[in-house]
Each structure stands twice: as structure tokens, then as C-alpha cells.
């Protein structure tokens, strides 16, 4: 029986069983995003002190659920879809052991539901980090463990699929760069999930009374090997998506396969040291450990991101110039398809991730500078620039690409889709920038009341802190509207979009059913060919001068901002051994 179809619009092949898993994983992710987005509204409207919407207990419950649904469930479900796409579709092969993949998916689903139930029952408002000795209900931890095990199972199916594709020679030469990026994400995910198991399994046993003590500092060190390294899965995955979109929209080729893959290798080797970023002002950690780990061993993972920061837009510039958009430094960028949400979302993701997320991350991860930033609202500002305007927006752009290709539906509301990345990216950027400002004024993260109502001894923040939080919240509301627009467009398209192919019927997208059997008429796809060779490649030429200027702009911003923070640090009380 034929199990492949070829998408007539894009030329991508889809394997029947892999396609279903891509769909259910993506849909589960989008549901988690919907929950996270609704909860986000509660968070921003409470932290906007003039509105102060929720009571304290509800606020902390909502914040816990927001963090877990957004950072864990939305992103990891979606990444599973990306892994299946990067293996079966890009390598034109069958999914290895689909039964195991489904088992993994259902474990994740059960885990996600169980954890949400625990949080909304109200006695597990422990934040995503669930720092011991504060204790959540046992099914809070069990849900996370099941989710992680399920993810691990799907990741091993991904590895198995790669092996079978290689054995069956479904492609020539080496795997494509995008698949290489997905492999990077998967390798980091294995490390991450192993760390999670090492700490969450004993914590679960502690919550049911089998273990009587978990050392709070040990918990922090190991938990963050899950908590931060899992964000590096996102980095690897969204960089792979940037490359994919550059390839699909512009026909861009990597400037150098060697450089891009080397940069990914640096991620595998060094990104997981980032656990240290959260331990910099903890008691009893040696200076050498902190400096080595917090800098990813001499900032080698930062180097990798700076490389991708040049090669992704650089590849777009080269492709655009080849089409004759050669005028000046920036014609290639000016005449890019800014009305296409696949591109605009990807490019906003790239810029905000680099200029805001990346720079603030390195600054706050500097051993000493962390003293003036740790646990202020600067921290969530940083990771909203990486995970929201970076990863989430990249995933959104990919969805716009996949709705017609994977789900075979025409997108509804194209006018709204056109502005969605600007609405979401713009709103969230406002939120992030103003929260960064509030953080430098000392506003705390995870804090219900800037007025400290009911405190025996008072403290007053400067008026400016209130203003910054209010403007940030307005940006947050705009961003949430942008997120709502995304959900409206994607869910609406799946339900009501014009069918581009004979399809199994109403709601089939949500149950993972594939299209009508007649669509699957390819028995064995053609072997994936190697990319066409370039006729002549002059390595001494500056192929992408515009990108180089942008990269230098990034560097200057980086250097200036970095030293401003050292100057600010120098103004606080001397302290030391």
C-alpha cells in the first residue's frame, strides 16, 4: 500500500503515519499555547498595578500554569512535530515504529493534563521551577515526569527514523542542514530530560513521603540543567526553522555548510552548561565553576549564535542578490516579502532573539553582573525575548507554512495573517523592553504586589517603576491579541479553510487522521537529491555586505550595553570574600 503523498504546491513528501503525528503534536502544542495565552492575560493585568486584576492566590496559580504551559507543553509538543517533519518529510522516509511514537505522544498528553489538573486544583502553585522545600501535589511532579518520558520516546523514534533513512538510502550525501539542526535539538533534549529525571523522580518520591529530604541547593543545580538546557532545545529548533524558511521562501542556500554545522556542534558541546546562569548568586558555589559554566566555556555557544546570526540573514541576502536585488546595501532586505507572515515572523524572530534576547542573556549571565539582575523582572523580560519573540514567533511562521502543506487547507483571514507577526512581535517587544527597564529599577519577578500591602515594614519603588510596568503591560496585551490572532487564523483555517485535497472530513485535523486514502499514491518517493552545485564560488568576495553591516551593528550594541552594565555594577556597595 502506498503510504506517501507529495504536496503539489511545495513538493514536500509526507509519510502517512508521520503526518498524523505531526498533526496531533502540533495541535496539542497549539492548545497549550491557547491556555498559556489566556493565562498570560491574567499575569500582565495583575502586574499592571493600576489594574491589579487577580487576588494573590489566583495570581500565583495562574503564573505557575502560564509558565509550564508556555515554556514546556507548547514548545515541546511543537518541537516533536518539527522533529517528525525534519526526519520523514525532509529525508522522504517512513516513520520508524509509529506505535512507539503514539505511545510517546499519549504519555506526553496524559502528563500535560495531569500537571495542569494539579496546578488548577490550587495547591501546587509552586511556579515552573518548583523549588524545594516548597511542595506541590505528587501528581504535579508525576505529570512532568510522564511528559518528559513521552518526549524522550518520540525523540528516540526520531533517531530511529534517521537510522532507517540512512540504511534505506532515501537521500544522497549528508543529511540536510535543517535536519542537522533538528538532530542538535534532539541530542540536547536527551541531556535535558535525563537531568529532569535525575531531580524530578526523587522530588516525586519526596512528595509522597518515601524520601524525607531533598537538598535545596542540589535541587537548584540539577533542576536548572533541565530548566535552562531545555531552552537550548528551542534555540536549536528555531535556528533550524530560520534556515528552513530562508530556504523555502528565498531558495536560500547556507553560505557555508561547514560553518553552520560547526556552529550547531558548538551548541551540542557547550549549551547545556547554562544551568549555572541561575546559580550565580547562590551560597557556596566556587568562582571557577561559575565562570567556566556561565560562559559556556569561553562563550563558545554565544559564538555559535553569533555565527547563525550572520549566516541566516546572509544566506537570504545572497539569494536575493542573485535575483538582481543588488542596489546598495539593503535593497535585498527592503524588497523582501514583508507581507508574507512566514518571512516577516521569521525575520522579527531573528532580530529580537539576537538584539534583545541574546544580548540581555549574556549580560545577565555574567558572573558579577548577575548580582544586580538576579530574580528581578529583567529575567522574565530576557526569556520572553528568547522564547516568545524568538522561538514562539518562529514556530508561528512555520505554522503559516504548514497549514496548506501539511493540513492541506487554505489559510483564512489572509489580511489578519499579514499583520499578525507585527502585532505579536511588536507587542511582546514593548513588554520586554519595559520589563527590562523595570528590572533595573529592582522590580521583582513572581511578585503579586508592588505596593507590598500588609507588610510590617514598607518599601516604595520609584514612580518610574510603575510607569514602566504599565507600559509593558499594554505591550503585553497587544502581544496577547497578536497571539489570539494566530490561534484564530490557525484553528479557523483547520476548521473552515478551503480544502486543498480530498480530505477525511470535519474535525479530522484534530484527531490526527490523514487525508483521503486516494491522496497517498506514492509508493516510494524519489531519493532526495543533493543540492545543485554552484557554478563558481569566489570565497574572497563579500557576498552579503548588508548582513555584515547588520552584524556589526549587533556587535556595537552588544559591546556598549555590556559595559554599561559593568559601570552600573561598579556603583553598588563593594562586597566580596
Amino acid at each position: 500500500m502506498s503510504s506517501f503523498r507529495i504536496c503539489p504546491d511545495s513538493g514536500f513528501y509526507f509519510n502517512n503515519s508521520a503526518e498524523r503525528l505531526m498533526k496531533v503534536n502540533a495541535v496539542a502544542g497549539v492548545v497549550a499555547l491557547l491556555i498559556a495565552g489566556l493565562l498570560a492575560l491574567g499575569v500582565v493585568l495583575t502586574r499592571w498595578q493600576d489594574v491589579h486584576l487577580l487576588p494573590a492566590d489566583t495570581f500565583y496559580m495562574v503564573l505557575t500554569a502560564h509558565g509550564i504551559n508556555a515554556l514546556i507543553f507548547w514548545i515541546i509538543f511543537f518541537e516533536m512535530a518539527v522533529l517528525h517533519f525534519a526526519s520523514t518529510t525532509l529525508l522522504r522516509c517512513k516513520l520508524a515504529t509509529p506505535g512507539w511514537a503514539w505511545a510517546g505522544f499519549f504519555l506526553m498528553l496524559i502528563g500535560a493534563v495531569m500537571n495542569n489538573v494539579a496546578v488548577f486544583q490550587g495547591n501546587s502553585s509552586v511556579m515552573m521551577t518548583s523549588y524545594v522545600p516548597m511542595q506541590a501535589a505528587p501528581h504535579f511532579y508525576l505529570g512532568l515526569i510522564l511528559f518528559a518520558v513521552g518526549a524522550l520516546v518520540q525523540i528516540f523514534v526520531f533517531f530511529g527514523t534517521l537510522v532507517s533513512a540512512q540504511q534505506q538510502k532515501t537521500y544522497e550525501g549528508s543529511i540536510p542542514l535543517v535536519t542537522f539542526g533538528a538532530v542538535t535539538a534532539a541530542v540536547i533534549a536527551v541531556f535535558t530530560i535525563a537531568s529532569g529525571a535525575i531531580i524530578l523522580v526523587p522530588t516525586f518520591l519526596w512528595s509522597i513521603g518515601y524520601i524525607n529530604h531533598i537538598d535545596a541547593e542540589m535541587y537548584r543545580v540539577i533542576w536548572w540543567a533541565l530548566g535552562h538546557s531545555s531552552q537550548q532545545i528551542n534555540v536549536s529548533a528555531h535556528v533550524a526553522i530560520w534556515y528552513l524558511i530562508a530556504g523555502v521562501v528565498f531558495g536560500a542556500r547556507p553560505m557555508s555548510e561547514k560553518v553552520s554545522r560547526f556552529a550547531y556542534l558548538l551548541y551540542i558541546l557547550f549549551l547545556q552548561l547554562a544551568s549555572a546562569h541561575h546559580i550565580l548568586v547562590d551560597p557556596g558555589i566556587s568562582t571557577e565553576w561559575k565562570i567556566f559554566n556561565t560562559s559556556y566555556a569561553m562563550y563558545l555557544a554565544v559564538l555559535a549564535s553569533m555565527i547563525h546570526g550572520l549566516t541566516v540573514p546572509g544566506s537570504i541576502e545572497v539569494a536575493q542578490r542573485a535575483k538582481g536585488l543588488n542596489k546598495g546595501l539593503f535593497e535585498w532586505l527592503r524588497k523582501a516579502p514583508w507581507g508574507n507572515p512566514v518571512f516577516s515572523g521569521m525575520f522579527i524572530s531573528l532580530v529580537t532573539f539576537g538584539f534583545i534576547g541574546g544580548i540581555t542573556g549574556v549580560v545577565m549571565g555574567t558572573e558579577q553582573i548577575n548580582l544586580i539582575i538576579h530574580n528581578t523582572i529583567y529575567v522574565p523580560a530576557h526569556f520572553h525575548a528568547t522564547v516568545v519573540t524568538g522561538t514562539t514567533l518562529a514556530f508561528m511562521s512555520l505554522t503559516y507554512l504548514l497549514i496548506p502543506v501539511l493540513f492541506r487547507r487554505q489559510m483564512i483571514l489572509p489580511g489578519l495573517a499579514k499583520i499578525q507577526p507585527y502585532l505579536f512581535g511588536g507587542g511582546m517587544t514593548i513588554l520586554v523592553l519595559f520589563m527590562l527597564g523595570a528590572g533595573t529599577l529592582g522590580v521583582s519577578r513572581r511578585h503579586w504586589d508592588m505596593d507590598f500591602t500588609g507588610a510590617m515594614l514598607g518599601f516604595e519603588y520609584p514612580a518610574m517603576a510603575y510607569t514602566l510596568m504599565a507600559v509593558g503591560a499594554i505591550g503585553g496585551v497587544i502581544g496577547i491579541l497578536g497571539g489570539g490572532a494566530y490561534l484564530l487564523i490557525t484553528v479557523g483555517s483547520l476548521l473552515f479553510g478551503k480544502k486543498l485535497e480530498a480530505s477525511a472530513g470535519f474535525l479530522e485535523c484534530f484527531t490526527g487522521k490523514s487525508l483521503a486514502a486516494s491522496v497517498y499514491n506514492v509508493d516510494k518517493p524519489e531519493v532526495v537529491p543533493m543540492a545543485a552545485k554552484l557554478a563558481h564560488h569566489d570565497t574572497s568576495k563579500f557576498e552579503a555586505p548588508g548582513t555584515f553591516v547588520l552584524a556589526l551593528l549587533l556587535l556595537v550594541t552588544f559591546v556598549v550595553y555590556y559595559f554599561i552594565n559593568w559601570k552600573y555594577l561598579a556603583s553598588v556597595w563593594p562586597l566580596g570574600n
Binding site: Y60, M127, Y131, G173, P176, L177, V178, E217, Y243, L244, V248, M255, S256, E257, V259, R261, V281, D282, P283, T287, Y299, L303, I307, T366, E367, Q368, L371, I372, I373, H374, T376, L441, G442, S444, R445, R446, F452, A455, M456, L457, F459, Y461, V528, P529, M530, A531, L534, K541, F542, A551, F558, Y562, W566, L569, V572, W573, P574, L575, G576, N577
Partner: protein, 179 residues
């Protein structure tokens, strides 16, 4: 269209890298090394470096030490919290518990103190405002930092590690007086 196709050259790792990328990698690497060097340099020339001195402790043991200081050096009370003025240069203690910083310290400007910090129950965040010095306070660990307050006035200590429903009421105080 090669980002999602196998590389054009089978032996792609032997294809020479363009000059532009090499220059950028060199610049980025230099910047990375500068940032890496800044941390040890600050340990030598900078004045704000977190102490690595810490001891394992228990709530009972640490509580006794704090109480001993309070018994000896309390000068007055504010809102039910003792205000303690230990001699310049001595060991001073503060404890975090649900939901209090205990006691209030009164320090002398430009004098150095060995400042001890620990938690009696859950994790807390010591956040000295408006200076914005932030430290993690972990139960079972006693951190000791040499501090030299070089500005006078009233400082707030707010908790910036989430510690339950009363988290926002957890505010303490440090006074620094000009001699």
C-alpha cells in the same frame, strides 16, 4: 535550495569558507574572549565579587546565632522587629523566614561587616533596594559576605524569590548611618 536538501558537495567539510564568514567568526571569537576575560579581571580589579564562603547549617543552629546578636546589640524596635546595631567590623546576621527578614540592621557607612544570610524554611530572595543587590537565600546554607556599605540611608530588603501567599509582605530594612 540547500538548507533542506543534502549539501551540494559530498565532502562539504572540505569546501573553503568565505572570507566574510571567517572575518566575522574572528571578530566574534575575540569579543567572546574579552567577555570571558572580564570576569576574572573583575575579581582582581573590581569591588563587587560574590563571596564563596558558605557553611551548611540548620534552622535551629542559625536561629541561635541570630538571636545571640539580637540579645546583645538591640537598640530599639520598629513595628515589632528589633533594630540591631552591632559594632563596625563585626559579624552581622539576617535570617529569612515566612514572611520576614529578621532583624533590622543598623550599619555604619564605609565600615566592613561579615554579613551572614540563611533561610529558616523555604527559599527566599534577598533584594536590597534601591541598590538592586540580589542574593539567593537557600535553607540549609549560611552564606557569608563581606559588605562595605558606601552609601548612607534607609534601604529596603524585599523578597524576590517566590515563597508563597505572603511573599509580597516580606519586606525588611537596613539602615546605614554616616558616622
Amino acid at each position: 535550495m540547500t538548507s533542506f536538501l543534502p549539501p551540494a558537495d559530498r565532502i562539504w567539510w572540505k569546501v573553503p569558507v568565505g572570507r566574510q564568514e571567517l572575518i566575522w567568526i574572528a571578530i566574534a571569537l575575540v569579543w567572546c574572549l574579552i567577555m570571558f576575560a572580564m570576569m576574572p579581571i573583575w575579581h582582581v580589579y573590581g569591588k563587587q565579587n560574590l563571596s564563596t564562603e558558605a557553611y551548611q547549617t540548620t534552622a535551629a543552629k542559625y536561629g541561635d546565632k541570630v538571636q545571640a546578636m539580637i540579645d546583645k546589640y538591640t537598640v530599639r524596635e520598629e513595628g515589632g522587629v528589633p533594630v540591631v546595631r552591632p559594632p563596625a567590623g563585626s559579624d552581622v546576621y539576617m535570617l529569612a523566614r515566612l514572611w520576614q527578614w529578621w532583624p533590622i540592621l543598623e550599619l555604619e557607612k564605609d565600615a566592613s561587616y561579615r554579613f551572614h544570610l540563611s533561610s529558616m524554611d523555604w527559599q527566599h530572595g534577598f533584594s536590597l533596594q534601591p541598590l538592586n543587590i540580589n542574593l539567593q537565600v537557600v535553607p540549609g546554607y549560611e552564606m557569608v559576605i563581606k559588605i562595605t556599605p558606601d552609601s548612607a540611608g534607609q534601604f529596603g530588603v524585599i523578597c524576590n524569590e517566590y515563597c508563597g501567599i505572603g511573599h509580597h509582605t516580606m519586606v525588611g530594612r537596613i539602615y546605614v548611618e554616616d558616622k
